[in-house]
């Protein structure tokens, strides 16, 4: 049943039905895993960044007014690493595609940029108006979480991803709780509930992938 791809006979020489369905499934799995960002990797990266970054802030901030400068550097470095990883990973996977999804993704990317740019300006304004260390700490943390949570809700709506909606709602809940707890407990809530939330999501995505492998027929031919 094999045929050379360009031989005239290849129009009629096909594979048995089961082999054709397997060929379709394998090819589509390959295409999806090469073109779509791996949610497990992205959630994992952000989970580790929040867990490590905020734990360092909490450890350094206990028993004094605010964390040491080095702790902020570690925190900033962890978040910057997660940002760079997310951008490089997503751009590599989506390179060579264009159309509706690419435009949606670009608008979503810009929404993050504009959200954090505005937050930066807003915090600058609060500092100029005389906000103290504690207020600035709470406002920058809560504000960043508000942007993250709302953009996850927006992303869930744009990409039709229910799990992402749950994560967005969870992050908003964590933002509120962390702010009410007050410094430095804020950072512990962020590390455990926030970072932990991302890691749970990475686990949920892993389960989804394993289940998809066990019941491959559900995916065959799905457009």
């Amino acid at each position: 049943m094999t045929s050379t791809p360009d031989s005239p006979g290849d129009d009629v020489a096909g594979l048995p039905a089961a082999d054709s369905l397997r060929l379709i499934r394998e090819q589509q799995d390959r295409a999806r895993s090469a073109l779509e960002p791996d949610a497990r990797a992205l959630y994992g990266a952000w989970g580790v960044a929040w867990l490590v970054g905020y734990l360092v802030l909490w450890t350094s901030g206990r028993g004094q007014e605010q964390p040491e400068a080095w702790a902020y550097w570690v925190f900033g470095g962890a978040l910057a690493a997660a940002v760079v990883f997310t951008m490089v990973h997503t751009m590599r996977r989506t390179a060579g595609t264009r159309g509706v999804s690419a435009r949606t993704g670009a608008m979503y990317g810009w929404a993050w940029m504009l959200g954090f740019l505005t937050l930066g300006v807003l915090l600058g304004g609060l500092a100029r108006a005389g906000a103290g260390t504690e207020v600035m700490g709470l406002a920058s943390n809560g504000g960043a979480c508000l942007v993250v949570g709302l953009l996850y809700l927006a992303g869930a709506a744009a990409f039709g991803d229910r799990n992402l909606f749950v994560l967005g709602a969870w992050i908003l809940l964590v933002a509120g709780a962390a702010t009410l707890v007050g410094l430095p407990g804020t950072y512990l809530v962020m590390a455990l509930a926030g970072g932990g939330g991302f890691l749970v999501m990475a686990g949920v995505e892993q389960l989804r992938v394993v289940r998809g492998r066990r019941h491959p027929e559900e995916g065959a031919g799905r457009a």
Partner: protein, 100 residues
Amino acid sequence: MPDALDPVIHAPARLRVVATLAALDPGDELSFPKLQKLLDMTAGNLSTHLRKLEDADYVRVTKTHEGRTPATYLALTPQGRRAFEDYTEALQGLLRGAGS
């Protein structure tokens, strides 16, 4: 029964091309080099199959420029997507018939 299967996408190489493009959301396009990488085909081989699919009105070929470099993008037409769905349904029907 085999005459129920679409001869244009029944050839394994073209079936893989169509299956790959069907994995995209409708409204999305894939560049020629990326499609070639996903299929492990030579450029000439892939072009031949794409021409047959284009002749059948299953694939839309868009030639454009990115900066000064010419670029080619591929997507299934609505007919192509329907043909692929009909084809997979026919295969599943054959399999159910054989299994009972």
